[in-house]
C-alpha cells in the first residue's frame, strides 16, 4: 500500500517477542497480536510510550475454534492500536485490565455478557446489556448459540409453550 505506517518498525522493535505479530493495515492503524501472558505489558507499553490515553473499546470475537478479545487504544499522535489476544474456546478467561485502564469497566461487562468470556479480577462483574430474566449460560453473540425458546421467560414464547395469539 502507498500510505505506509511509519510507526510499524518502531513498535515491532520495541515489543520484540512480546508480540506474536505486528501489522499495519493503513496509516494510523496498527494491529498487535499478543498472548494472555504478554497483553498487559503491551498495553502498558502503549500507555507509557505511545501516548495511548484513550481506550476506544474492547470487544469479543468468536472465531469458532477460539475466542479473541480485541482492545482498541487511541493516541492523538500515533493513531489507533489494536491489541488482539486469542483465548481457548473452552472456558475462555483473561485477567481484567480495569486496574490499569479504568475505562474498561463497562466494556468487560458487555463482553462477559454477550460472549461468556470471564475477566478474573473485575470489581463488579454483573450483567450489563441482557435483562435480569435472561438464563445464565446463554451468550447470544457466540456463533454456535441458538435461541431455545423453552429456556426463556418460562417457555411462554415457544411454539409448544402455551401462549397463543388472538
Amino acid at each position: 500500500m502507498t500510505d505506509e505506517n511509519p510507526m510499524l518498525a518502531v513498535v515491532k522493535q520495541d515489543l520484540g517477542t512480546k508480540a506474536v505479530e505486528v501489522t499495519a493495515p493503513r496509516r494510523k492503524r496498527i494491529t498487535i497480536a499478543a498472548t494472555p501472558g504478554t497483553y498487559r505489558d503491551v498495553i502498558k507499553y502503549l500507555q507509557d510510550k505511545m501516548d495511548c490515553y484513550h481506550l476506544s473499546v474492547l470487544q469479543g470475537v468468536d472465531n469458532r475454534t477460539s475466542f479473541e478479545v480485541v482492545y482498541h487504544f487511541w493516541s492523538d499522535r500515533n493513531g489507533m492500536f489494536t491489541v488482539k489476544v486469542a483465548l481457548p474456546h473452552d472456558k475462555p478467561a483473561i485477567g481484567t485490565i480495569t486496574d490499569i485502564v479504568p475505562a474498561a469497566i463497562l466494556y468487560e461487562r458487555e463482553v462477559h455478557d454477550l460472549f461468556g468470556i470471564e475477566f478474573p479480577g473485575h470489581p463488579d462483574m454483573r450483567r450489563l446489556l441482557l435483562n435480569d430474566e435472561w438464563p445464565k449460560d446463554e451468550h447470544p453473540l457466540r456463533k454456535d448459540w441458538k435461541m431455545d425458546e423453552k429456556k426463556f421467560y418460562g417457555g411462554v414464547r415457544s411454539s409448544t409453550g402455551g401462549e397463543k395469539s388472538g
Binding site: 493503513r26 490515553y53 473499546v57 470487544q59 458487555e110 441482557l130 447470544p140
Partner: protein, 400 residues
Amino acid sequence: MRSLAEMKIPIGPQHPALKEPVGFMVNVEGERIKSLDLDVSYNHRGIEKGVEQRDFNQSLYLIERICGICSHAHATNFVKGVEELMNLEIPKRATYIRLIVGELERIHSHYLWVGVAGHEIGFDTLFMYTWRDRELVQDLLEIISGNRVNYAINCLGGVRRDLSEKTINLALDHLKKLGERAIYYTRLATTEETMVGRLAGVGKLSHEKAKTLGSVGPTARGSGVDSDVRRDDPYLAYADVPFKVITANNCDVLGRTIVRAGELAQSIEMTKWALENLPPGEIKKAPPRSAPPGEVISRYEAPRGELVHYIKSNNTDKAERFGVRTPTMANWPSVVEGLTGQNIADIPIVVAAIDPCLSCTSRTTFVDTDSRKSWVWNWDELRNYSIRWYRENKGIYWGD
C-alpha cells in the same frame, strides 16, 4: 444532632425526557449523592447479532435504526468501514454530501440538546427558541434526503440522492439564519447570569478523570481534552474543510454547554463551506457484492462523541462480526463521577449533560431505609424539585 440516614433512590428505567431507558440506583445521605449505580439493560435489541445474519445492504437499514438522533452517524460509519474493507474509493461529491448531512445532523442534535438542557433547569423559553430553530434544519434534511429522521442518504459506494442547485441555495439561506441564532445561543450560554448560576460547578469532571474514564465528544472537550475524530483521524471530506475544535476548561456542565454552542457555529460554517465547494461528478459507484477477509475499526465523530464500529469480513456478503461502541456508553463512567458528591437537585442536568441517547427515567422511588418510608417521584417531579431547590437555596428562577 442526629446524623442523616443513608437512602437508596432508584431512578428509572423510564425517562420521558430523553430516548432509551436507563435505570439509576442513587445512594444519598440527606441531599448529597454518595454513590451511583446504573443499569442500561432495558433496550438491548440484538442488532450486532442481526447484522451477522444479513448482507451489507440489508444491514445498512438495520444500522440506520440503532439511534434515531444520530442515525446518519451509524450508517455512515458502517458504510465507510465496509467500503474500506472492499477497497472501494467513493466519488468525492458523495463524501461531501455525506459530510453535509452529517453536519446538519450535528446541528439539529446540538439544538435539541440546548433545548433539553434549558428545560431541565427550568428555562423553558430557551427550549422553545431552540426547537423552533431546529425545525429549519429538519426541513432541510427532509428536502435533501426525503426523511426527517433516519435519512438513509447512504448506500454502499456513495449516496442515494444528489443536491440540486435549488436545494443548495435554500440550504445556504437557512444556514445564514441559523448562524445568527447560534451566535445568540453562544452568548446566552456563556454570559446569561441565571444559566451560568445553574451550570457552573455542577457535574465536575476533571481533565485527568475525563481521560482515564474514556470520555468522548463534548463531555471530554468540556473538560479540556483536545480530541476530535474529524481532525485527528479524518474521514469523508473532513481533511478539506476548515474548522476549529472547540474545547473549554470549565470541567463542568457549563463547559459542556459552551462546547456544544461553539460547535453549532462551527458546524454551520462547515456545512456552508461544503455546499459552496461541492465538487461536480458522480454520486455513487457500483460496489462489489462481497468483501475480502479483513477487519476494520471505523471511527466517526457523532454529535455525542467518538463512535466506533468494528467490522470483520469473511469473503462473503455478510459481516463475520459487527461491534458497536456508542458514545453514550463511553460517557456513563463520567456521569457517575460527575454526580458523586453533588445534590439530588443536580441529577437531571448532569445526566442530560452527556446528551445521553437514552430515554425514560420516569419513575423515581425514594426509600428512607431508616423509617422504611418510601415515596415515588417521576422525572417531572424530580425536575420540579430541582428547580424549586435552586429557587429556594440559590435564588435562581426564571418565573412561571
